[in-house]
Point group: C2
Chain length 353, copies 2
Amino acid sequence: MAMNDKTPPDEGVEQANGGEANPPTLKTIAFMTGLGVTTVSRALKDAPEIGAATRQRVQLVARQIGYRPNRAGVRLRTGKTNVISLVLDTEEQVGGFVSDLIYGISEALAQTPYHLVVTPYSRNNDPLEPVRYVVDTASADGVIISRTEPDDKRVRYMSERGMPFATHGRTHMGIDHAFHDFDNYAYSVEAVKKLAALGRKRLALLAPPSSLSYYHHMRDGFADALMEHGLSEVPFPTATVDHSIEDIRKLTADLMRRPNRPDGFVSGAGAGTFALVAGVEDAGFKLGQDIDIVSKQSSKLLHLLRPQLYVVNEDVRLAGAELARAVIGRIAGRDIASLQSLSTPSAVEAYDA
Amino acid sequence: MAMNDKTPPDEGVEQANGGEANPPTLKTIAFMTGLGVTTVSRALKDAPEIGAATRQRVQLVARQIGYRPNRAGVRLRTGKTNVISLVLDTEEQVGGFVSDLIYGISEALAQTPYHLVVTPYSRNNDPLEPVRYVVDTASADGVIISRTEPDDKRVRYMSERGMPFATHGRTHMGIDHAFHDFDNYAYSVEAVKKLAALGRKRLALLAPPSSLSYYHHMRDGFADALMEHGLSEVPFPTATVDHSIEDIRKLTADLMRRPNRPDGFVSGAGAGTFALVAGVEDAGFKLGQDIDIVSKQSSKLLHLLRPQLYVVNEDVRLAGAELARAVIGRIAGRDIASLQSLSTPSAVEAYDA
DNA sequence: GGCAAGAACTGTAACGTTACAGATTGAATC
DNA sequence: GATTCAATCTGTAACGTTACAGTTCTTGCC
């Protein structure tokens, strides 16, 4: 049995043995077990043509010495990066939104070999650029994007090139893909219903920018519910949740000083609601008296701002976890239909003292 | 001139040329220029022993065909990952804090070849674990950590093993290292000074958890300034900025109902201040009248919560950018002393209507 | 006893890059 | 004309992994 013709992994290195131990590789295990590297490699991934005894022996040794596959080696050989890329707009307004998304994703990735890489872009630049980078350099196995548009270039790009991805928000472009979304239609329906029940008649909507998909959902729900309850809309077109706090505040105050001011607001974002409230009060009106506001929030701060606010909670952390599961599902080749989820808003909550 | 003995990069692949083009490699450029891969490699990194004409020719071709070095190849050969790892506590309370940190880091990394990998851990587990993982598997060239402690195991671990890193916050353990910190000592000195000027006498501090470095800075500044202005402290030991909004609120209300309640608060975190205000009002007291509060904030929401609040802004995005610059500096072997920065708090701001 | 077939294992090559040790020039020096 | 030298270029090997094409050995069958 020619066992000693295996080359020990550190041969040629003259350092004393007390020096830094290099991380173990397949070669290390091969040397320790007297097997070939190929056998070790296959034994570690439970290949069928490896004997049960050998497999167990290899896995035991690997565990003992704390073997971890070298990511660069695997990536170079197989092309598998074990990376999920989160493409983020770094101009994103305030709020723990992005933090929560990242926490949710991390949570779901923790049990997997995947690392999370944040790929930023500036809203001023082309949103397609970071996606193109990731796809062209194959620097991730899957991508998560947010700020989804109804006809989204990024979705088309990734679809055409077979890059697995999941979107935060839906599209309407005839391409089926994994997504997670908050049901903003249901949200604004519930919000309007609440305001109707409070006797409000003329409602305004602080909407997302009209380029984004959820603008349409929110707007449609708003319009349908207005119709159903026989209420009217006070247009508030210039302001969106993407505007700065100062802008929204000023636009709101202006709106409130008009003769046909609204007596109810539906707000699409927690931070925007801070500005709404300030604008309303700047104009001299009182929340819960002259006007009522229903807002979405991802943090829990709105009721501390004003207890008169009505809120619906959006669990962004959950969204992150769902998105991570969805991309991983796509990478594993799972069925798209099973990787699409919609989060139903909870009931509108009044402040509970 | 034997030029055609170079092997074209796609030899052996039977696909028609109309198929997907594989990303160009050094071999591609070598083939196109008629040079050897080694020459191409060196030409691209401006090595001195390559002729000026050749260098330009190679770089031109590389640019034209959109060559990008394969990260796995570089990483495997050199050990350089071109990755910065941000180690994050995923239990972090609320606030755009982490978002801003990430945006700041991304901003600074955008001009470099570095990718940002988020390495999460749960506060319940050992904070050393993710750091050990990154160091042991050499999965990043540099690390950024936050929630720094005066005697920080992670700092020791990375120091001893020569992993470049930067900390958000300082340590006091006789190890010199790169950091960025907000001057929380100066902050609480200014905060107390403001409250003294307002005629407040009995101050309480909503501090960070006592395990963290900035607890001590904030506390020392608080104590020194109390002394200087002849004010007294109302102990508020159980509550920290890490507690939930609900907990802080309740503890604050309890405190305010005591006979020796404070007439001024210094708050170490924006989200905590939301809870402070709620607790104060729960107990029936009025901000600006019975009590004044000075708070740090990283978002701009506090003055919308209550205009009576006094705020100091902490630019976390800047902190992120500084931290990124600091780690990169360490990786480049720059002097530690030049990679330590302290951000001086701006003046205490009252609401400016 | 000879042979086929499977089980269990092995070596080689390749992914893309760079370190290292040459090789090939042409010009300058003696 | 030979020798040295610098300038410029090149091939080979290796980083750690896996696909592929063997190789060896045992066992069963005729």
